[in-house]
């Protein structure tokens, strides 16, 4: 057989909740309950409020660089809803606060992180997530390792790893996908394709028609979802998580969404982003879409909206208070977490806050007159 087809593949895209708030009932079947949607919608409002407040904190010099999730709430929360709290594990990058909040991370942790305070990464032991990760792509491998540990210990847990479209260009992403598929570990790769990696449009990040097809290189199940559609995101993630838990190995999800804000507060997207693109993206804002759905089903009205917004403001206000009222870290903290046991040199550096050796060793500090050279010592072998 001189010419034969040795491989073929197809990738589907799923949308359940349309931009106008209408839902495909048959596909929605068995996904999110009315209560779920209401709850997630309130979370969306809360997270959007958090983003806006964080933006202001940065602008007023009370916080460093901050990356908003704005516009990606449905993707993040829809996916996160498919996880069992405290059991399944979240490996986030830096833009997926809403998933971490949904699974119990006190919100001020995220603020602390961006306030330049490592305590924001000290995830409480009862939570099932790793901290914010700034280096792009590296965490995909950690996610595979964590899932591997679950598999080795035969724990009934699966991992979801979030990352952006830009992350798919890194070598680590590739190695993670390959390891995961070979090891058949319970991990779901959730690519938040928000169309941009800082100023690089996703069409310049790679030449493939979709990000979903990247998984074909690894023989991994893959799907594209409307990332602004809570239902679709919940469904594809839930399917993938169930497959993972059942021993079916890893899956890939491309969530097509949009970054409504700047890359971070250090960025100005007007330098590179066509205004028209943002405008049309604003029209498919997942919050508006979800609200349309709720209102169409008479599950939501203006009063509830006002109440939810007020509640969100209150929560965020308090959270900022908690973060800003944290007692400052001491310089000891620079040293105390380097090793389980601090080595002697580091102990000295910690105690003296100095590295110059004269200053560190009290017996040396210019207090003693220079000793005479000791000339009694053993003669060099080739001295006359």
């Amino acid at each position: 057989m001189p010419k034969e087809v040795v491989y073929s593949a197809q990738i589907e895209r799923l949308q359940i909740l349309g931009p106008d708030g209408s839902v495909d009932e048959s596909l929605a079947q068995g996904t999110l309950s009315d209560g779920d949607v209401k709850y997630l919608y309130e979370q969306m409002i809360l997270c959007r409020e958090f983003d806006e407040a964080a933006f202001k904190l940065q602008r007023s010099g009370r916080m460093g660089t901050f990356p908003q999730n704005k516009g990606q709430e449905a993707a993040t929360l829809g996916a996160a809803k498919a996880l069992r709290k405290g059991i399944d594990y979240i490996v986030p990058y830096y833009r997926e606060n809403p998933a971490m909040f949904l699974h119990g991370l006190p919100m001020h942790y995220a603020l602390l992180h961006w306030m330049g305070d490592e305590r924001g990464n000290a995830i409480p032991a009862n939570l099932s997530m790793s901290p914010i990760c700034v280096a792009i792509g590296v965490q995909t491998l950690h996610a595979v390792g964590i899932a591997w540990a679950f598999k080795r210990r035969k724990e009934d847990r699966a991992v979801i790893c979030f990352f952006g479209d830009g992350a798919t260009s890194t070598g680590d992403f590739h190695e993670a996908m390959n390891f995961a598929s070979i090891l058949k570990v319970p991990v779901v790769f959730c690519c938040l394709n928000n169309q941009w990696a800082i100023s690089t449009p996703c069409g310049h990040q790679c030449a493939s028609e979709t990000f979903a097809q990247k998984a074909l290189a690894y023989g991994m199940p893959t799907i594209q979802a409307d990332g602004n559609d809570l239902f679709a995101m919940y469904k594809v993630t839930n399917d993938a998580m169930e497959r993972a838990r059942a021993g079916g190995g890893p899956s890939f999800i491309e969530a097509v969404t949009y970054r409504l804000g700047d890359h971070t507060t250090a960025d100005d997207a007007r330098r590179y982003r066509p205004a028209a693109q943002l405008e049309s993206a604003l029209k498919v804002d997942p919050i508006i879409r979800t609200r349309k759905y709720l209102e169409a089903k008479n599950l939501w009205d203006a009063t509830q909206q006002a109440a939810a917004e007020k509640k969100a403001k209150g929560i965020v206000h308090d959270v900022i208070g908690v973060a800003e009222k944290m007692p400052p870290q001491s310089s000891d903290d620079i040293f105390d977490y380097m090793y389980a046991d601090l080595p002697p040199e580091l102990q000295k550096q910690k105690q003296t806050l100095r590295t110059d050796s004269i200053g560190m060793d009290p017996t040396q500090v210019g207090l003693q007159p220079p000793r005479e050279r000791d000339t009694t010592r053993g003669k060099p072998m080739n001295a006359e």
Binding site: G64, T65, H113, W114, M115, G116, D117, E118, V134, A135, I136, G137, G166, A167, S169, T170, G171, D172, A197, I198, S199, T200, H204, Q205, C206, A266, D267, R271, Y272, P328, Q329, S331, D333, I334, F335, M338, E345, L346, Q349, L353, R354, T355, D356, S357, I358, G359, Q364, V365, G366, P370
Partner: protein, 324 residues
Amino acid sequence: MAKLDLVAAINQALAQEMEADERVMLLGEDIGVNGGVFRVTDGLQKRFGPDRVVDSPLSESGIIGTSIGLAMAGMRPVPELQFEGFMGPAYDQIVNQAARCRSRTRGAFTCPLTIRVPVGGGIHAPELHSDSPEVVYVHTPGLKVVMPSRPYDAKGLLISAIRDPDPVIFFEPKRVYRAIKEEVPEESYTLPLGKAQVISEGSDLTMISWGAMVSVCLAALDQMPEEASVELIDLQTLSPLDVETITRSVCKTGRAVVVHEAPKTAGLGAEISSLIQEHCFLSLEAPVQRITGFDTSMPYYKLEKQYLPDEDRIMAGVRDCLAY
């Protein structure tokens, strides 16, 4: 003469070299339309086109690896890595490929590329945006390593780096980007690689530093009592080191302190201290002091001020050294 900050001086150097040499091209994340996250390449894509100022995908190894290929094939790539914390993924291509290209091919292939990297702390940036990994590349034979402390030097050194036939890592101290403005000649000029600069003469003690720490050293010197006469050397090139300038000074003064941001242990201060000892042993009045970052990870920015050597730590080290 126009007063330029470091960003503008580097931008000008890049533009002039691109003008002068068709083979020069820039690549990196967000350097094109956006002009780089620090705006160092601002306007260059518009001027030279997207084929010569290329927005790359998010792949540091890819940026350096393709640059090596470009260089092997006769181009003069000037890749940018967005922050020194993201040199990690490119480490292998830099250290194991670029640096060895000439020697492993006995000169049949060369690798003239200049890797631009913003470096160092002090700007309240997130994690992995404030490190000082320079010594790793100084330890790597085959590379040259440059770190200017001010705009005038930066322009001349960068032009030299781009014209250098071997791979150069050009570190740009972020803290200096907008902090210092000085007169920078409009025309193209070069400054020699491998030469340190004595920026203030003195007779009692030699202070050696580079990059953003030079300004901190200068500020410390301003507070020094009049009687203490300190000679300040700005290394500018970290590899190859200008051993002669360093040792000539210390053989004269008899005392030395080295100031850098990176952790102390096996930092570049160790090499300088050792060189001084080797070359000025009989003139040394006190051990060479290293005033450096601690042997810890660079803390997040809330504690970076405690981590980075400041005027007080420099003063204390100098005082003890003089009193020894």
